[in-house]
């Protein structure tokens, strides 16, 4: 955990006071609804379908057990006893009262937390690999760079009112677990031949209405220039990004309209003015930030734990969980454990206050008091001794957090959807549940292998449907909820030869109750087509193209005609 110093704490406290004053002025009629809206949005407060929604920042997804207990307490005291972990590694409360929000923020500040820039047209929470600092394929510990960027982006005076929201992701490992090609800026840590750290800079990726895979505009940016270079990009975007059309305001549209090459030239020209300026990072500052991070203490262990290996061999259920939910650790004898928030029957990413308290307890006893939130909406204990995995598994099972589905079809990413969100065209949670139930019942799930299934309730794509191997998007047709299906998306280079990709729509959309059948048809074709169990769903889609899948779902031309007629009759 990064521990605040006095100044970090003071700035957060001052933000609480400022927001308290703004809320007070709004409630007493001194600030109009139109003026208050952008101000509250900058602090994560939306007015939703039923009540305000408050999004609390979990910088780069890293939490202490003490912070998680406070999140649980807030849910109990001011909400309805649960929270929703989002795909930006944040937590959202769906039922707070506006007049309570300043008190909630004050409570958060007591554990070095806040809701700063969790929405609005500004630089949002910086996200990263949820295995940062423990992954075997680590290049750098990305948390340190994320914290440097967090401080730089917090209340940046020039970039408070950008054309649109701005998302930055940092990846510090070989495998891209941060979807850096699908962010406004993606930063990939690299080392040059001398071993010096730098970043590959990617701009203009994103999901939403116009999904685009980002462009590399610099292969190697020495780390000292990280802030000045990012600032140059933001400056060009702030001045020239479109402000006339909400849907064309993201940086990806500017990059596309100018061409990536021209955009790069503009950024480099701007950077020439800022390069080597006072914002150039120093060794001392990087070391200072590094030094303020506490890390769980590790013991020196010989290697894999013999007792653990024996239990894996003896207990198939434990082994099945370990295969899916336990990741190797860079330190011998340790492992990283994913606690699944994707139990069938529970909205993806939701956790109750009691579960949060229980996870905090597990983090204290098994993982040095720290945990992470993944963008796949699960919780991770990153520093568990192998010898304790079995005991942890039993406790997690009792809490409903040991569904062995990480990387599988039932580990669905979903936004809160039309049940909660006023932007959504359609519900996402019931769709997720229907799919989970179908595939649980068929007991298929362990044979299908790795499959990312992502659901968004609207084009804003909070559920990352564009990069699901299977993506489901809620669409509105004459006031009714329909669902469009795409296949072939991929969130990032998680293995060689599998780059980030945006899925392709397979055809006309479906009614909600048709979705499990459609997914089953897609999976059925995959199982017939795959050449071995090692060939994943996504690999088959890429090998064969989407046509065979289309045909399986919609049938021949004649059958398609019929499908259309039936849909029209139903609509």
């Amino acid at each position: 955990m990064y521990r605040y110093d006095e100044i970090d704490q003071r700035l957060v406290d001052e933000r609480v006071a400022q927001f308290r004053d703004q809320t007070q002025r709004f409630l007493t009629g001194k600030l109009s609804e139109d003026d208050f809206r952008p101000l509250r949005l900058r602090n994560g407060l939306y007015i939703q379908r039923f009540a305000p929604m408050l999004r609390v920042a979990i910088p780069y997804g890293l939490l202490s057990s003490r912070q998680l207990r406070t999140l649980a307490h807030i849910a109990r005291k001011w909400d309805r006893g649960y929270g929703h972990f989002s795909t930006r590694q944040n937590i959202q409360y769906n039922w707070p009262r506006l007049e309570d929000v300043p008190d909630i923020l004050a409570e958060l500040a007591t554990v070095e937390m806040h809701a700063i820039q969790t929405s609005g047209n500004c630089v949002r929470n910086i996200t990263t690999d949820h295995f940062a600092g423990v992954a075997r394929d680590e290049i750098v510990d990305s948390f340190v760079w994320c914290e440097l960027l967090r401080q730089w982006s917090t209340f940046h005076p020039e970039f408070n009112y950008l054309p649109r929201k701005f998302k930055i992701a940092v990846n510090g490992a070989e495998a891209d677990r941060a979807a850096i090609f699908l962010h406004d800026i993606g930063l990939q840590a690299v080392r040059d031949s001398a071993g010096e750290v730098g970043f590959r800079v990617i701009v203009g990726g994103g999901m939403g209405r116009t999904p685009i895979v980002g462009h590399v505009i610099r292969e190697f940016l020495p780390w000292q220039h990280l802030l000045t270079y990012v600032e140059a990009i933001l400056h060009v975007y702030n001045r020239y990004g479109r402000r006339d059309n909400l849907y064309k305001a993201r940086i990806k549209i500017l990059v596309k309209e100018r061409t990536p090459e021209k955009f790069r030239e503009e950024v480099e020209a701007e950077w020439a003015h800022r390069k080597d300026g006072s914002a150039t990072l120093t060794v001392e500052e990087v070391q200072r930030v590094e030094g303020r991070f506490t890390r769980p203490q590790h013991e020196q262990l010989a290697g894999d734990d013999a007792g653990h290996l024996a239990r894996l061999a003896a207990e198939p259920a434990f082994a099945a969980w370990a295969r899916r939910n336990v990741q190797p650790h860079k330190i011998p004898g340790y492992a990283a454990v994913t606690l699944s928030l994707k139990k069938t029957g529970v909205p993806p990413g939701d956790a109750t206050s009691d579960q949060m308290d229980a996870v905090a307890e597990l983090a204290d006893r098994y993982s040095g008091g720290e945990l992470r939130v993944s963008h796949e909406q699960n919780l991770i204990l990153a520093d568990v001794r192998q010898s304790q995995l079995h005991a942890l598994w039993q406790e997690a099972k009792a809490l409903g957090l040991a569904t062995p589905n990480i990387g599988l079809i039932t580990n669905i990413i979903a936004c809160p959807g039309g049940d909660f969100c006023s932007l959504a065209n359609a519900k996402s949670i019931p769709v997720a549940q229907a799919i989970q139930e179908r595939f649980d019942r068929l007991d298929y799930v362990y044979d299908i292998g790795e499959l990312d299934l992502n659901i968004s309730g609207c084009m804003n794509s909070c559920g990352h449907h564009h990069v699901g191997h299977i993506g489901i998007l809620g669409v509105d047709k004459n006031g009714e909820e329909w669902y469009q299906i795409s296949i072939g998306g991929n969130q990032g280079l998680t293995r060689p030869g599998a780059p980030a990709a945006v899925g392709k729509v397979i055809g006309p959309s479906f009614a909600r109750d048709q979705i499990p059948d459609v997914i089953e048809k897609l999976i059925g074709l995959y199982l017939e087509q795959r050449e071995s169990e090692a060939e994943r769903f996504i690999d088959v889609v890429w090998r064969t193209g989407i046509d065979p899948f289309k045909k399986r779902v919609y049938g021949t031309h004649h059958q398609r005609q019929e499908h259309r007629n039936r849909s029209l009759a139903a609509a």
């Binding site: 700035l11 209340f155 009112y161 120093t282 200072r288």
Partner: protein, 169 residues
């Protein structure tokens, strides 16, 4: 005369701000008095404006480039930047360019949809004068300069970022 905030005080404003007419045509130039003119008027009536006995100020709209007046800055008594809506953040970048790249040392004024909640960050970007929109409580707005005790970034007001100052502390 209208009241503005300048250098953190409430003062009367000696300037008259001319704006384009509703049909975007150029306004009449009054024979005397200090005026702030829109960029288009300066570009098209440069001679008569320069020949007037009174002081001259210029106002850039949010989409207008500060580079186009860089050579003329010495002729102006004030440079204003308009915020058509407070959520249009281009003026923050314009201000930094005027201060940091084009060396403008004089009065830099935020005009348009300007109220209390922007003042702290506007000041960080180099504005030292603020013509708040109608109906704002100027006395209350002065408190905004104390909203935060510090900033992480290098700004016009504080050219050293916090991390360089932290090291010295």
């Amino acid at each position: 005369m209208a009241l503005i905030i300048k250098d953190r005080n409430i003062v009367t404003d000696p300037w008259l701000r001319l704006e384009l007419n509703a049909d975007r045509s150029l306004p009449e130039i009054p024979p005397a008095g200090d005026v702030i003119v829109p960029l288009a008027l300066w570009q098209q009536r440069r001679e008569p404006l320069a020949a007037r006995p009174s002081r001259l100020g210029i106002c850039l709209d949010s989409h207008e480039e500060p580079a186009v007046i860089a050579e003329d800055l010495k002729l102006f008594g004030v440079v204003a930047v308009n915020f058509p809506k407070f959520t249009d953040g281009r003026g923050y970048s314009t201000a930094r360019l005027l201060r940091e790249r084009y060396g403008w040392k004089g009065e830099l004024r935020a005009v348009g949809d300007v109220f209390r909640d922007q003042l702290f960050h506007l000041a960080s970007c180099g504005f030292n004068s603020f013509a708040l929109r109608d109906g704002e409580d100027l006395q209350d707005a002065l408190g905004a300069f104390r909203d935060f005790s510090d900033t992480y970034q290098a700004t016009v007001e504080q050219p050293q970022p916090l991390f360089r100052r932290r090291r010295l502390a």
